[in-house]
Amino acid sequence: MNIDHVTLSYDGSRNHLENVSTIIPQQKITTIIGPNGSGKSTLLNVISRNHKVNSGIVTVEQKDILTFKPKEFARKLAIVYQHNTTPEELTVEKLVAFGRVPHQSFMKRQTTLDDEAVDWALTVTNLLDKRERSLMALSGGERQRVWIAMALAQRTAILCLDEPTTYLDMYYQLELLDLVKRLNDEHGLTIVMVLHDMNQALRYSDHIIMMNDGYIVAEGTPREVVTAERVYDVYGVTSRIYEDDELGTVMLPISR
């Protein structure tokens, strides 16, 4: 996926993305980080075609994403949003099956291929035994996994996640990120996500894009991108960066 000179302004007064160019590496975990209002979610919304850009182009498989038909694009890229309204009482299985919509049409309804994709998505997210449950009866962590399962049922090569851990307890945050890691390792998905927690980003990403004020400040491996100077420049926080044999790069914020 290529992002080429993308500029976007919601209201015309200032650019929320300013001439952003980057390449999302295939079959890697890419995390976009940055303070509030830095444009990280905006960028995610641009590559998922949710926001229209003022100028620039985003391509998937060397094709402008705007030239895909909606369902065609939904077979290339899936996105899970930070917040989802929980529909009352629909079962997990029914919801996950909605992920097959891009593969269906009004005339062509559910096929065995669809059933297989749903089963696979439920297996990977460890929800098989919950398939008959209603969403209301699940914990926050399980619900978030249901939304991911729905996106997985789309069977796309690219999966986008907008702050997937925000509303979860620590235990479920790690569980979710382990799932993301597994999706990348074992199933070869290209992951693009926005994370708020710098250490989670450091720990789970192959590639980090750091943003501020609509610009890309730095990108590369976690170690290359996250330095004490940059953290101070972008977040206004002094910090200490450690290299741990087991954990990789770790950042400890000190003071503002």
Partner: protein, 326 residues
Amino acid sequence: MMTKRIVSFVGVTLLLLVAIFFSATTGSVNMGLGEFIRALFGAHNDDFAVIKDLRFPRIIIAIFAGAALSVAGALLQAVMRNPLADAGVIGISAGAGFMSMFIITFVPTLFFFTPLFAFIGGALACFLVFALSWKSGLEPMRLILVGIAISAVFTGLREAFIMICSYMNVTIDGSFTSNMTMKTWTEVEIMVLYGTIGLVLAWLLVKWCNLLTLDDKTVRSLGFPLMTARVIIAAVAVLLSAIATAVAGVISFVGLLIPHIARRLVGNDYKYVIPFSMLAGALLILVADTLGRTLVAPQEIPASTLMAIIGGPFLIFLLRRGDRAK
């Protein structure tokens, strides 16, 4: 849940059959069950001939009107993401009623196209409600208020029109006075034809209705044509309420009451809500109409009047419950 669903479906079907029998055999001409069934299967019976001509059209129209209005309500609730949407309450029926009356009074020869004009009027009202209450989403309360205003305007136009016509000695066809008496087989044909089309279409839209329970952005990320689906579902809802209004008059609250009960009994999946609403709506209107004509016989209370008496308090109940849920 599954057992409850089955019990509910079987229960409502049986009740509907009982109601049909009761309604057919009660009134100025009475008949027992055995006699009725024998006549139904061909035995000659003079009373049955009377029942067939006088009561069957009425029963069929009540059943279809109830089914159509309930399903229309369920569809509107899906498309507006609002449990309070009902064709009567938000003015679609009033728009349909006014428009069909207006055109048929001037061009009585177009009688068979009544449903078409009703559809145009209903669609106009539905569009107005949508356009005027849309403010980056549909907030339930605003929708209801705008709907009530639209409904009032069309009801007012209709009444003004009736007044003006009576001044100018233009006769208005009796069938627009919102009741189910004196229904002919021609009207039954119209009702059954368009009603069946609408109900079958509604059944095909079940999955779309379920999809609309998700957030807009999620639905769009699936590549689903959200706006098109909304317009189509709304159009089917308008068709159903227009046909019911054109034949049986304006009946409010059915589309509010029945889908709500349906969700309680068979769950929120539209695959069950829609067919259950059909059966339960048919039952409710048939019972209301039968009670209306037997309670104070030989006088009649229109089904719409009975529905208003039951439905008004129910709307208040739903509003209060909604407040508490927040």
